[in-house]
């Protein structure tokens, strides 16, 4: 490979494209493994993908990847062409999946700027041996059939020059000895190409070695001895010389006119040697047709480009700034002095509309369906059920649900942990299931749905369920629960399995480990502003729901006024708002205020007290009550006034401020003021975070 080509973008593309191909391949194999047979289309797809990877890897000089891909390509070439009967599909799938893993691993190294130094030769050997095995097996069983099926076109035909006219004065017979540039590869085909071109200009073309296509040794012969071709033409020597030398990769050419006698002898010899090169390539043609037909069913792919996520982030930021600056213009304080603004308002409305659309598009660019993440789990389920001898089926629903790219990155690991846990600890052995009267095939449901500004990812298994007593006992032993049992809801008990240092399984398995997984799940999900809910019914299974925000970047917020400050409450957490009368407020002996709404009692939190804002309204009947809720409960927030709904760009609190209880982030308002976004979950349940 030319060193002058800068490798970076090429490497990036190599990694991107091949990972995508491998992912696609893995899905295809997993989807078809169950059917115990591989359709032509699938075989073709595997063949094609491996072929592409082989080519790309060879260009980048990753020999280990390229040779492995080549071996798999060979295997599937054989399967495609000869449809051997004796095939162990499970084994083939294993081999291909192992191969995929190896290549993925190598590409992973490249991604991290390491050398792809893995050794694929054991895989290659394994595959080659297996190929040999099925070749032998089918050779034994199909010997007779094959011989009968062999088309006559393959038989060697000997060629006697069609034109018998002796040379006239203008027509001469030439002898050319050609050497190709070393390393140009496929010398035999180059020779064939040369002859093919010569046909327009010359007659009675004979050449040595004769069997350039059929015999692969001809390549070696041509490399060592050159390619000799004899032909008759009316062209002058210079013209022929030019014709040859124009051709690429010709190292040297020795061209001379043959004498008559020499010609005679040569012609005699030729009768026995030269193959008719017009022979119809029966087999190959059939294959090409078949290939074409099969490829047609390959389906169309969407045309996609890959964009650096950093660029998208920057774009997102810029759109955020644009939204803010638009508000700055539209609500500019100078406008209050103007008298007639009809046209201005008309223009700003249009402006805002366009910006909103732009914002939607930018958001949608960042949105990625969960398909990839979900389908990755097929492999986990397959591997685990195979190793643990459990029969588990993964049912995926709502994979098309889209989530911000940044959030998706944080989802894969938690879901993987949860699935491993479910299969390892939740699902019983087939015998036990049979004893319990359950279907021998256990099911794990992985479902995604979006509700409002949140996405729910629900993982449900039909296994044994969580053992409440055991969890309680364990949690107490580890000091994870302080409250008395009677005060604990089921949800609270089950949630303790998410705490660090909790593990219900005494054995450690290869997959789910020592129970460090569950708190990683919680941590990961909380990092993206999500929550985890655990529910379980003994004997019927466990359901774990992950509630995650659709996007991190922009939220719909309600601007509320408290004194001179403005806060943002995320719209999704607002249940309702109302004016309260002084009499509605109940004060408990500790001085805590509560409000009764339709028979339900909610604690009241005065935001001005919480955030120590001065000169705020104290009288509850003058301000307004906003009921906010999340999974763990509801609470009434007392604010001065609602100012209106607004999309706000969420910006993390600067590092020097750090984490503040009750505040999740900040944003900029249209007039350039910074404004805090209220962390509803923290206000409702301060102990949780």
């Amino acid at each position: 490979m030319d060193k002058s080509l800068s490798k970076e973008p090429m490497l990036e593309m190599f990694i991107f494209e091949n990972l995508q191909l491998l992912e696609q391949l893995e899905q295809t194999i997993l989807a078809h493994e169950k059917e115990r047979c591989l359709e032509n289309a699938v075989i073709n797809e595997i063949f094609r993908i491996m072929h592409t990877i082989k080519g790309s890897a060879a260009m980048m000089m990753y020999d280990s990847i390229s040779s492995l891909a080549h071996a798999i390509e060979d295997l599937f070439f054989y399967i495609r062409e000869f449809h051997p009967d004796e095939m162990d599909y499970s084994k083939i799938c294993d081999m291909v999946l192992d191969g995929i893993d190896f290549i993925k691993n190598e590409i992973g190294k490249l991604e991290q700027d390491q050398e792809a130094d893995g050794d694929s030769s054991p895989f290659v050997e394994n595959i080659e041996q297996y190929l040999l095995l099925i070749k032998e097996a089918s050779a034994n069983s199909n010997l007779i059939n094959e011989a009968a099926a062999r088309p006559a076109g393959l038989q060697k035909k000997f060629y006697i020059s069609t034109s018998k006219s002796p040379p006239t004065e203008n027509i001469k017979r030439y002898h050319a000895l050609i050497y190709f540039t070393p390393g140009c590869e496929m010398e035999n085909i180059r020779a064939f190409n040369l002859v093919h071109k010569l046909k327009d200009q010359a007659e009675q073309i004979d050449y040595l070695p004769a069997d350039i296509i059929e015999n692969n040794d001809s390549v070696e012969f041509i490399r060592e001895n050159g390619f000799a071709v004899i032909f008759t033409t009316h062209l002058q020597q210079e013209a022929i010389n030019e014709l040859f030398m124009k051709e690429a990769f010709i190292d040297s050419l020795d061209l001379r006119v043959m004498e008559d006698e020499e010609w005679e002898i040569e012609q005699l010899r030729a009768r026995n040697q030269i193959i008719l090169e017009d022979e119809e390539p029966t087999i190959s043609n059939n294959r090409a047709k078949e290939t074409g037909a099969n490829l047609h069913s390959g389906g169309s792919r969407q045309s996609l480009i890959n964009v650096n996520v950093d660029k998208l982030d920057r774009l997102m930021d810029m759109v955020g700034e644009l939204v803010i600056s638009e508000t700055m213009v539209a609500l500019n304080p100078d406008l209050t002095t103007a008298t007639r603004l009809d046209n201005f308002h008309k223009a700003t409305r249009q402006h805002r509309k366009i910006i909103n659309e732009l914002q939607d598009i930018v958001m949608s660019i960042r949105m990625v369906p969960l398909t990839m993440t979900f389908h990755k789990m097929n492999r986990i389920v397959r591997d685990m059920s195979k190793k643990q001898n459990k029969n588990v089926e993964l049912v995926i629903r709502g994979e098309e649900t889209e989530v911000d790219k940044k959030i998706i990155e944080h989802l894969s690991d938690p879901i993987m942990h949860l699935i491993r846990n479910a299969i390892d600890h939740g699902i019983e052995s087939p015998e036990k299931r049979a004893g319990l009267g359950k279907s021998p095939i256990a099911q794990v449901y992985l479902e995604a749905k979006s509700e409002g500004g949140d996405v729910y990812i629900i993982l449900r298994d039909d296994g044994a369920g969580l053992d409440k007593e055991k969890i309680l006992e364990r949690a107490r032993a580890r000091g994870l629960i302080q409250k008395p049992d009677s005060n604990l809801s089921d949800g609270e008990i089950f949630s303790t399995i998410l705490l660090p240092g909790f593990s219900t399984c005494d054995e450690i398995s290869e997959f789910s480990g020592r129970g460090v997984g569950m708190d990683v799940v919680l941590k990961n999900i909380e990092a993206i502003g999500g929550t985890v809910l655990v529910d379980s019914a003994p004997g019927q299974g466990t359901t774990i729901s992950l509630k995650i925000p659709l996007t991190l970047a922009i939220i719909n917020g309600m601007r509320v006024k408290v004194g001179n400050s403005i806060y943002i409450i995320p719209i999704t957490s607002i249940k309702e708002s109302f004016k309260a009368q002084r009499g509605d407020v109940i004060v408990d002996p500790n001085g805590k205020e509560m409000i009764m709404v339709r028979g339900e009692c909610y604690p009241v939190l005065r935001l001005h007290k919480k955030y120590q804002v001065k000169s705020a309204l104290e009288d509850i009947s003058k301000g307004i009550i906003v009921i906010v809720q999340n999974d763990s409960g509801s609470i009434c927030l007392f604010v001065d006034a609602l100012l209106g709904e607004q999309q706000v760009v969420v910006k993390a609190l600067p590092k020097f401020i750090g984490k503040i209880a009750g505040i999740s982030a900040c944003t900029l308002l249209g007039d350039g003021r910074a404004c805090l976004i209220i962390d509803v979950a923290n206000l409702i349940n301060p102990s949780k975070s």
Partner: protein, 117 residues
């Protein structure tokens, strides 16, 4: 400056070829990711040269060569092949391909072949 259409289903290969060609004074006028699109684009762009991968979805390189040759019998097509595809290359030549390259290839080889046709 000769115009080139790149037909290859691997984005990586298209990119690599484009870089090599543009660096060496060719003008890449289009790319296509399968044989069918390749033939279509040939009809639209009528480039001087086409580089044609062999193994592609929808329609393979040989089918595409046949289609392109129907559009223009004088079309110059260079096949991009890999080791082990001798038979397919031969078919491509019979179908009318002018020459071929074998992956992996270097800049010089690409330029050499494209200049020779």
């Amino acid at each position: 400056m000769k115009s080139v259409l790149i037909v290859d289903d691997a984005m990586f290969m298209r990119y690599t070829l484009r870089r090599i060609l543009e660096k060496n004074g060719f003008q890449v006028v289009g790319e296509a990711e399968n044989g069918l699109l390749g033939a279509q684009k040939y009809g639209e762009l009528l480039p001087d040269i086409v580089t044609m991968d062999i193994t592609m979805p929808e329609l393979n390189g040989i089918g595409a060569v046949q289609l392109i040759k129907q559009i223009n019998p004088q079309a110059k097509i260079v096949m991009i092949s890999a080791m082990g595809q001798q038979h397919l290359v031969r078919e491509a030549i019979l179908a009318g391909a002018s020459n071929f390259l074998v992956k992996p290839f270097s800049d010089e080889r690409v330029v050499q072949v494209l200049n020779s046709i």
